[in-house]
């Protein structure tokens, strides 16, 4: 009996092959097998014969929407910088998408980075992706040489041990608190839809930090970000970060210092988070790719909470509603300017 992921993998291969063979799309963005346990390699597949390389499992932690604008550009007929955009339909690109990734595609469409009609969403209900760090921490220091994934367990092998752990216990925090695991855009359905999850308190971790005193919160922030090496993996893994020149790279004016000064590092993370406010789907890619294991997702999660409380919006869930922070309305909440005591939304 094949596992759920084996079935999904097979379905992905069949559908991708079909899309490429009948020329519906020029490329498919998916995952191929990785060289280490618990890793996969994102890849752009352009030939039907290549689709056998595609895989699906619980280690697909990078958000594939990140690749979408660039791959869309790469399949357009080549043209000079001053040539007009060709008339007529441009080639399409298929992309695997779980709930959060599909919501990022919605945001990309809202922000005119991606045209809906050029994207074929291969929708997969997410069962939650596993955190490599959690598994490694569980086996504290013992090297993991192979991990076999069953439907509800991970069989972890080392040089001198084999141990089975519960899969859900190793799932990333963002996936465990996710309420919309099923894609909001569906062009080709892969596997069965995932039902929305009832989560009594998706912001529990944020609230634990909010409950602390200012000094305690500052201590948490300073410690958490002190190990940042400024490699910008979090930024580059994020589908929201597509500015041609990032504010940290700007020289005129130079907004942020470039070395490991704690103020500069802190500023980078705070501004990065704020740039994601109202747009972040808590896909967890930033946190998953950080080589230093920094939980920078706590910042964006806090802002997700604020945006939900202030505007009633979750990024990517309302394709026809303008983005909350790029739209002005006279009745916009403004506690961030004047914190009115006793206001219903105080503390946001």
């Amino acid at each position: 009996m094949p596992t759920i992921n084996e079935q999904l993998t097979e379905e992905i291969r069949v559908q991708a092959r079909k899309l490429l063979a009948d020329k519906t799309v020029a490329a498919v963005i998916g995952y191929t097998a990785g060289s280490l346990p618990m890793t996969v390699k994102p890849a752009v597949i352009r030939a039907a014969d290549d689709c056998g390389r595609l895989v699906w499992n619980s280690f697909c932690v990078l958000n594939l929407a990140n690749y979408l604008p660039e791959v869309l550009k790469s399949v357009e007929p080549p043209r000079g910088p001053r040539d007009p955009k060709p008339t007529g339909p441009l080639p399409k690109v298929a992309v695997m998408a779980t709930g959060c990734w599909s919501r990022n595609i919605v945001v990309q469409i809202q922000e005119h980075q991606v045209e809906r009609e050029r994207v074929v969403v291969m929708a997969i209900g997410s069962r939650g992706m596993v955190s490599r760090r959690k598994v490694e921490a569980h086996f504290s220091g013992r090297e993991i040489l192979a991990v076999t994934e069953l439907d509800h367990e991970l069989v972890v092998k080392g040089a001198d041990f084999t141990e089975t752990v519960n899969r859900w216990s190793m799932v990333r925090d963002n996936c465990q608190t996710c309420t919309h695991p099923d894609p909001v855009l569906v062009d080709v359905r892969i596997g069965a839809p995932a039902a929305d999850r009832k989560n009594p308190n998706p912001f529990k971790q944020v609230e634990m930090i909010e409950a602390r005193s200012t000094d305690e919160r500052w201590a948490w922030f300073s410690a958490e970000f002190s190990s940042c090496i400024r490699c910008y993996a979090c930024r580059n893994a994020c589908p929201l970060c597509y500015c041609p020149t990032c504010f940290v790279d700007d020289a005129r004016p130079q907004w942020v210092g470039k070395s490991l000064d704690a103020t500069d590092t802190g500023l980078f993370h705070v501004l990065r988070a704020y740039h994601c406010a109202g747009r972040c789907t808590d896909c967890g890619a930033c946190e998953s790719v950080c080589p230093m294991g920094i939980n920078m997702r706590m910042l964006t999660k806090k802002l997700n909470k604020d945006v939900l409380n202030l505007y009633g919006i979750e990024a990517g869930m309302q394709p026809d509603t303008p983005l909350p922070l790029t739209t002005y309305k006279p009745d916009d909440p403004q506690q961030f300017i004047v914190n009115e005591p006793g206001s219903a939304k105080e503390g946001a």
């Binding site: 390699k41 090297e143 190990s227």
Partner: protein, 344 residues
């Protein structure tokens, strides 16, 4: 060369003793924040607790002690009416001894490799002069380790001042340099007996041996053929062009230079840069010689595996495997090397 035998307690007290001679750093265990957050993420001042090293290299490399992030190159003032306004001065040369304990042979070798381009660099040399390396050889390799393939070995001592190796009972400490000897001056240590020396030699012999011959063919390969290899397109497409690989890499040594001014007082600093970033090669005119992701991914591997060896001899890689482990998209340099050897 002297070799001493140490119990765990003696080893720990030896490290505590180093504290009286200079700043002592050890790999940070877990996510403990570093006290020296300005320049050494992944390392912490030794706190006297028994040293327990995980298998394989530390999370971040030892390059931070030789090539700190940032390094002050000059200081200056831009205050109005100040007579020395705009005059750049060398900062005081740092002489405070720093003793790094717990690095692995791969990192020790990286210090020597980086010393090839930095042989004439005053700041790197000043840090070389003040840093003592007390390394721990590896009695096991991780699955991501490949030091032997790059010309190193898990039991190698090259680049270290003191090499500590695990024995069946306790440890052997090999004193390799005069600086290593200085650290132990005044300590009562037991010289290793014949059985310990035999055991050490046996372990060294049994360990994977340095062998870069399998890769030397790469150095002979025609530049153009490697440059035009089709694999770059695929790698470039997966790569997200972050700097994780370059920043965790012990042998990536590029830097950028920037002036920082706070209330009229300034310093010119250098800090880690990455050829993965578009800004790295961008001209002021807007022209970018490596404007595409693929070109930048290619440049990093070509530098390590072709340009650097063509200029200096060895590959600019010690096989620590950090980039393999930390790459967000699983670009594996071992696969790249394999592909480059066979590409036609």
């Amino acid at each position: 060369m002297q070799v001493f035998k140490l119990s765990q307690a003696e080893l720990d007290s030896m490290i505590r003793h180093f504290g009286s001679l200079g700043m002592v750093y050890t790999p940070a265990a877990g996510k403990q924040p570093s006290a020296r957050t300005d320049c050494a993420p992944g390392w912490q001042p030794a706190d006297g607790a028994p040293l327990a090293l995980a298998t394989g290299p530390s999370a971040t490399s030892v390059k931070t002690f030789f090539f700190p992030q940032p390094e002050t190159m000059q200081t200056f003032s831009v205050k109005n009416n100040y007579p020395d306004r705009g005059l750049l001065r060398e900062p005081e040369t740092l002489t405070e001894k720093q003793i790094v304990v717990g690095l692995r042979p791969c990192d020790a070798r990286s210090v020597l490799l980086n010393n090839l381009p930095y042989r004439e660099d005053p700041y790197y040399q000043a840090n070389m002069a003040r840093t003592v390396l007390v390394g721990f050889t590896c009695d096991a390799m991780c699955s991501t380790c490949f030091c032997d393939r790059m010309g190193g070995s898990p039991m190698a001592t090259e680049g270290l001042d003191i090499a500590v190796s695990r024995l069946d009972h306790g440890f052997a400490a090999e004193i390799l340099t005069a600086r290593g000897e200085e650290l132990l001056a005044g300590l009562k240590l037991t010289p290793a007996g014949i059985s310990e020396l035999d055991e050490l030699a046996g372990r060294r012999q049994a360990a994977p041996q340095a062998d870069a011959a399998g890769l030397d063919a790469l150095k002979e390969r025609d530049l153009n053929r490697l440059y035009e290899a089709p694999l770059w397109q695929q790698l470039g497409e997966s790569c997200i062009n972050c700097g994780a690989c370059t920043f965790v890499c012990p042998t990536c040594y590029c830097f950028d230079v920037q002036d920082e001014v706070v209330r009229g007082t300034g310093r010119r600093i250098r800090y880690w840069d990455s050829c993965m970033f578009p800004l790295y090669s961008l001209h002021t005119s807007g022209h970018n010689p490596r404007g595409q992701k693929m070109q930048r991914t290619r440049n990093r591997f070509m530098h390590k595996l072709k340009y650097f060896p063509d200029r200096f001899g060895p590959f600019s890689c010690v096989g620590c495997g950090r980039c393999v482990k930390d790459c967000p998209v699983n670009i594996d340099i071992r696969e790249v090397m394999g592909d480059l050897l066979t590409v036609e």
